[in-house]
């Protein structure tokens, strides 16, 4: 979630150094020097262009709050329409608020957690496959790069270099689609929604 708070000028990749896949720092610096030599300006990361990072948090909060408002007010109106007393209307509202918050938090926690477990299992499977049959896995990676538009020879080279550098990382990113940046964080998501539902509007 560091995209939303990014400074006005952020060098490419500087935010990736703290977490994420292995970054070859010395090679990256050499690349920066090369770019400086060519008088190439580093792209400025704009706050308005990339909304994928911080927007997830806000969207989850708004969705949680909306959900709370719709369910609570529907419940209140339903009991009121059934000619419930003021007291029973309020009891139904409080019960609905608490149960809604709890079930939302629980289901969100379970879903995010099971996704993390699935990713972990897939990585373990990939590890054993790599041990058993290195060659066909490399061919699969090459095929992926060819499908993305690289020529077969270049794709083979790319696959070889990425494997030599960070084998499991290359397979995780390009074959399984797991990247460190979007790794699921179970507790945060759960607490976020619960707070939005219960303390929010």
């Amino acid at each position: 979630m560091d995209l939303g708070k990014s400074k006005s000028v952020t060098p490419l990749g500087s935010s990736m150094e703290s977490h994420g896949p292995r970054i070859n720092k010395s090679a990256f610096r050499r690349f920066q020097k090369f770019l400086a030599m060519k008088r190439f300006k580093m792209p400025v990361r704009s706050r308005r262009l990339h909304r994928a990072g911080g927007i997830g948090l806000l969207r989850a909060a708004v969705l949680g709050a909306n959900d709370g408002i719709v369910s609570t007010s529907s419940l209140l109106i339903g009991v009121a329409a059934a000619h419930g007393t003021h007291r029973s209307i309020l009891v139904a509202g409080i019960a609905g608020l608490v149960s809604g918050g709890m079930s939302m938090a629980a289901s969100e926690y379970v879903s995010v957690h099971s996704q993390a477990d699935t990713e972990e299992a897939e990585l373990a499977l990939e590890r054993t496959k790599l041990k058993q049959d290195n060659k066909s896995e490399r061919q699969a990676l090459t095929a992926i790069y060819v499908a993305r538009g690289l020529e077969p020879l270049l794709a083979n080279q790319v696959a070889q270099q990425l494997i030599a550098y960070d084998e499991l990382g290359a397979y995780a990113r390009d074959e399984l689609g797991i990247s460190e940046k979007f790794r699921a964080r179970p507790l945060q998501a759960s607490l976020r929604l619960r707070a939005a539902l219960q303390l929010g509007p």
Partner: protein, 72 residues
């Protein structure tokens, strides 16, 4: 939280219109806010959230009215 507070304060005779209208107003506001933050059209987001929220409230009110008339 908001609908609960509103219905605690509101007079019992006018509870349904007050609670539903205030909830719909907040829903429209939140939908617009989410759309604006996501770079989408504000009007579209507000209308979408308000429509489905209103439908949910209307259906629950209908069920409550049915149950209330049958029980009496």
């Amino acid at each position: 939280m908001m609908p609960l507070i509103v219905s605690a304060i509101a007079p019992e005779a006018r509870l349904i219109p007050i609670a539903s209208l205030s909830s719909l107003a907040v829903l429209a506001l939140m939908g617009g806010l989410a759309a604006h933050a996501g770079g989408a059209r504000v009007m579209m987001g507000a209308v979408r959230v308000t429509f489905w929220g209103g439908l949910a409230m209307a259906m629950t009110a209908g069920i409550g009215w049915l149950v209330g008339t049958i029980a009496q």
